[in-house]
C-alpha cells in the first residue's frame, strides 16, 4: 500500500545544485563569520561581533588587559573538553541571537557564564584569598569566602559599570578586515552612502 517515497527523477539535478549552493553558503557563512577563529583565545575573535565591542574596549582599558584574554574568564578551565563544549554552546547561541538580531540593548551575563567567571577569578587570585592557616582550621571558611560573587564588590572589574550596546560608541576596537574584494567593497560603500543620502 505504501509507496516508497522517492523523488521524481526530474528532481535530481536541481537537488544537487541546491545542496551545492547550500553547502557553499554554509561554508561561506563559516568563513565570513570567522567561525574558525572561535577555536582560539584571541580577544579579537570576540569583536568579530561588534556587539562585543563594549566588552572588548572596557577589558582593553582595564588592569586585566595585560595578563588575560576573554576566555581566561569566560570559559571553564577545569578541563579541555569542558572548555570546548562550553565554547561551542555559547558560540552557537551568540551567533544565532546575533543573526536574528534578538540581542537585548543591555546584555546580562547568564548564570552558567557567571559561575564560570567566578571560578576563573578564584583560579587566578586564589593565593590572595586563601589563608593557609585558616585552611587547617576549617576548609569551609575558605569556600564561604568564595561563594559570594567577586563582582559584588569589584563591580567595575573588568568591564566597568556602564554596560549596553551603546556604551562605548567611538571606542577604537579592531574591526575584522573586510572579507570582500576591494572592488566590491568600494561599490558597496558608495551604494550605502547613497542610500543614506536619500
Amino acid at each position: 500500500m505504501l509507496e516508497k517515497p522517492s523523488p521524481p527523477s526530474g528532481w535530481k539535478i536541481p537537488v544537487i545544485i541546491a545542496s551545492g549552493i547550500f553547502t557553499g553558503l554554509a561554508l561561506f557563512s563559516l568563513y565570513i563569520s570567522r567561525a574558525t577563529s572561535y577555536l582560539g583565545d584571541n580577544p579579537e575573535t570576540c569583536v568579530n561581533c561588534h556587539i562585543m565591542a563594549p566588552q572588548y574596549a572596557t577589558w582593553y582599558h582595564s588592569a586585566h588587559r595585560g595578563k588575560t584574554n576573554c576566555n581566561d574568564c569566560h570559559v571553564p578551565h577545569n578541563n579541555v573538553f569542558n572548555k570546548y563544549f562550553f565554547k561551542a554552546k555559547d558560540g552557537l547561541r551568540h551567533a544565532t541571537i546575533f543573526s536574528l538580531r534578538k540581542e537585548p540593548q543591555v546584555i546580562f551575563i547568564k548564570e552558567a557564564g557567571a559561575a564560570a567567571v567566578q571560578k576563573n577569578c578564584i583560579r587566578c587570585h586564589k593565593d590572595l584569598i586563601t589563608d593557609s592557616r585558616l585552611l587547617t582550621v576549617n576548609t569551609e571558611i575558605v569556600s564561604s569566602r568564595m561563594e559570594r560573587s567577586c563582582t559584588d564588590c569589584h563591580r567595575e572589574t573588568p568591564h566597568g559599570r556602564v554596560n549596553s550596546l551603546s556604551a562605548v560608541p567611538w571606542a577604537r576596537v579592531p574591526l575584522p578586515e573586510s572579507p570582500l574584494p576591494h572592488w566590491l567593497n568600494g561599490e558597496k560603500n558608495k551604494r550605502s552612502r547613497k542610500q543614506n543620502r536619500n
Binding site: L25, F28, S29, I32, S33, H50, F98, S99, R101, E103, P104, Q105, V106, F108, R161, V162, N163, S164, L165, S166, A167, P169, L175, P176, S178, L180, K188, N189, S192, R193, N196, R197
Partner: protein, 464 residues
C-alpha cells in the same frame, strides 16, 4: 544568514551622513523626521497614554481628584480650577488648550494668561522668538498666538538643524545662566543632555518689570537653584504669585522644579543626565539611536536603569516606589496641615485679627506651602532626590506647625480657643466649591471655546 552577517558588518563601519534641507527653526517635526525616521517614529510614541506607574505615567491624572486638598491650597489661583499630571510631549498643545487655567477667550474676552504660557509647549516657539525677540513673543494675552503656536514640542526645540547638535532655544535658560554668572555656551556635552530639558522642566515666574506690559519669563536662579536660594530671591523681590483666597497669605507657586531638585540628587552628582534615564539608547535593525519616546523611566527599565544597575527589574521598581511612598507619607501630612492653616487664618480674619498680628503668620504659611509645592510639583522629585525632597517636606512641616501654633494663640486671644471646623473637602467638587469656584460655568465656557475658537486656530494654521 550570510547576508545578514555581511549587512551587520557594514553597519559597524558606516554612519549616516544625512542631508538636511529644512530651515533652522522648522517647527514641523515631520519634516525633520524624513531625515531621521528612527528618532521621529520613537518621538511619535509620546502620544501613547497607556502606561501607568504607582504615581505617574503617561496618562493625564487628575491631581485635584487624587488630592482634593490641592484645590484649597491654591484657592484664588488658576490651579485650583484644573491641574493634571502631565503626559507625553505630543500632547502639549492639546493640553494647554484644554486646561481651564487658560480660560475661554472668545470675542472680546481675553485669556487671563499671557502668551508666555506658550513658551514651553511648542516647536513653533524658537522661530517666533527668533523673529520677534523674547519680549515680543511673550507680549499680549494667550489667545493672540493661538493660530501661530500649533505644533507640540519638537525637534527644533532641542536640535541645531545643521549639525543635529543639542542647542538651547529658550532665552530664559540663557538669561538664568547669565544671572548666575555662568555661560551656557561653555557647558559639557553631558550637561547639555540635561540642559535641553532644563529649558522647560524648571521653576519659573513671570516678571512684569523687565519690559513694560510684558510678563517676562524668568527662572529665579540668581542666588542659586536650591529651594532656599530661590526663596530668598523671591523674598528680596517682594514677589508673590497670588494672594491666597482664604488665608490672604502672599503665596508662591512652585512649578515643576524637576531640574533643580535633580541637581541635588545622587544621580546628578554622578553625572547621570535626564536623557540617560528618559531617552536611553535603543537599537532597531542594528542601528543604535536615542529613544525619543520620552516617558517615565519605569517603562524602559531594561534600557535605562539596567545599563548601570545589574539588578532585577522588580528590585529597581521597588526602589522607586519605596522612595515615593516614604516621601508621600509626610507630604500628605503637610498638605493637611496647610489646609488647616488657611482655614484657621481665614477664621482669624473673620474674628478681627489685624494685619500686624497676621503678618508673620502669613509669612510662615507662604514658606510652608512653597516647600510643599516644591516637593509636589516635580513628579519625579521623590526619586530624583529623595533625601532633599524629604528635607524640604520636614522643614515645611515645621513651618506650618509654627503658623498653626501662632494662629491658635491669636485665635484664643480673639476669644476663640477651639479647633477650627473645616468644610467637607473630601472630593474635588466639594473642595472646589469650598474654594469658591463656580465650576459649572467654567466648564461650559471652556466647552464653547474648544468647539468654536480652537478649530478656527487650526484652520488658520493649516492655511499658512
Amino acid at each position: 544568514l550570510a547576508s545578514s552577517i555581511i549587512e551587520r558588518r557594514a553597519e559597524a563601519v558606516f554612519a549616516y551622513t544625512p542631508l538636511l534641507s529644512f530651515s533652522e527653526n522648522e517647527p514641523n517635526s515631520r519634516v525633520w523626521g524624513e531625515a531621521f525616521p528612527r528618532e521621529y517614529s520613537s518621538f511619535l510614541r509620546t502620544t501613547d497614554t497607556t502606561f501607568r506607574s504607582r504615581y505617574n505615567g503617561s496618562g493625564l491624572i487628575d491631581m485635584l481628584e487624587e488630592y482634593p486638598s490641592m484645590a484649597i491650597l491654591w484657592a484664588g489661583y488658576p490651579f485650583s480650577k484644573d491641574y493634571r499630571q502631565g503626559r507625553g510631549h505630543q500632547h502639549a498643545i492639546e493640553d494647554i488648550r484644554n486646561t481651564l487655567r487658560t480660560g475661554a477667550p472668545s470675542g472680546d474676552t481675553p485669556s487671563p494668561l499671557p502668551n508666555t504660557c506658550w513658551t514651553c509647549k511648542s516647536s513653533n516657539v524658537p522661530g517666533l522668538i527668533a523673529a520677534e525677540g523674547a519680549a515680543g513673543f511673550y507680549r499680549g494675552t494667550w489667545e493672540k498666538r493661538g493660530a501661530q503656536v500649533t505644533q507640540p514640542i519638537g525637534c527644533a526645540d532641542c536640535h541645531d538643524s545643521r549639525t543635529m547638535n543639542l542647542r538651547i532655544t529658550r532665552p530664559a535658560l540663557k538669561e538664568a545662566f547669565e544671572a548666575m554668572g555662568r555661560d551656557i555656551n561653555s557647558v559639557s556635552h553631558q550637561e547639555m543632555r540635561s540642559l535641553v530639558c532644563a529649558q522647560c522642566h524648571v521653576e519659573y515666574y513671570f516678571n512684569k518689570n523687565i519690559t513694560p506690559d510684558v510678563q517676562y519669563l524668568v527662572f529665579p536662579w540668581k542666588n542659586g537653584t536650591t529651594l532656599e536660594e530661590m526663596e530668598k530671591y523671591y523674598d528680596d523681590l517682594g514677589f508673590s504669585d497670588w494672594t491666597h483666597g482664604i488665608s490672604r497669605a502672599p503665596m508662591l507657586k512652585a512649578q515643576h522644579p524637576d531640574f533643580e531638585v535633580y541637581l541635588t540628587g545622587t544621580h546628578a552628582s554622578r553625572g547621570v543626565s535626564c536623557a540617560d534615564c528618559h531617552m536611553p539608547f535603543i537599537s532597531e535593525g542594528g542601528q543604535k539611536f536615542t529613544d525619543h519616546h520620552i516617558q517615565s523611566s519605569l517603562n524602559s527599565i531594561s534600557r535605562s536603569c539596567q545599563v548601570c544597575h545589574r539588578e532585577e527589574t522588580s528590585r529597581l521598581v521597588a526602589d522607586v516606589y519605596q522612595r515615593q511612598d516614604k516621601i508621600l507619607e509626610n507630604r500628605k501630612i503637610l498638605e493637611d496641615m496647610l489646609v488647616k492653616c488657611h482655614f484657621e487664618a481665614g477664621t482669624a480674619w473673620e474674628k478681627g485679627a489685624t494685619e500686624a498680628q497676621m503678618k508673620e503668620i502669613l509669612n510662615y504659611i507662604r514658606k510652608a506651602q512653597w516647600r510643599w509645592d516644591f516637593a509636589a510639583a516635580g513628579h519625579g522629585n521623590s526619586f530624583h532626590s529623595p533625601v532633599e525632597t524629604g528635607r524640604i517636606i520636614a522643614s515645611g512641616i515645621s513651618m506650618a506647625a509654627e503658623a498653626r501654633l501662632r494662629l491658635s494663640r491669636l485665635l484664643a486671644s480673639l476669644g476663640s480657643n477651639n479647633e477650627v471646623l473645616l468644610p467637607d473637602i473630601s472630593t474635588k467638587e466639594k473642595a472646589q466649591s469650598a474654594a469658591g469656584l463656580n465650576m459649572k460655568k467654567l466648564n461650559e465656557e471652556k466647552a464653547v471655546f474648544l468647539k468654536t475658537v480652537v478649530p478656527e486656530w487650526d484652520k488658520q494654521a493649516g492655511q499658512k
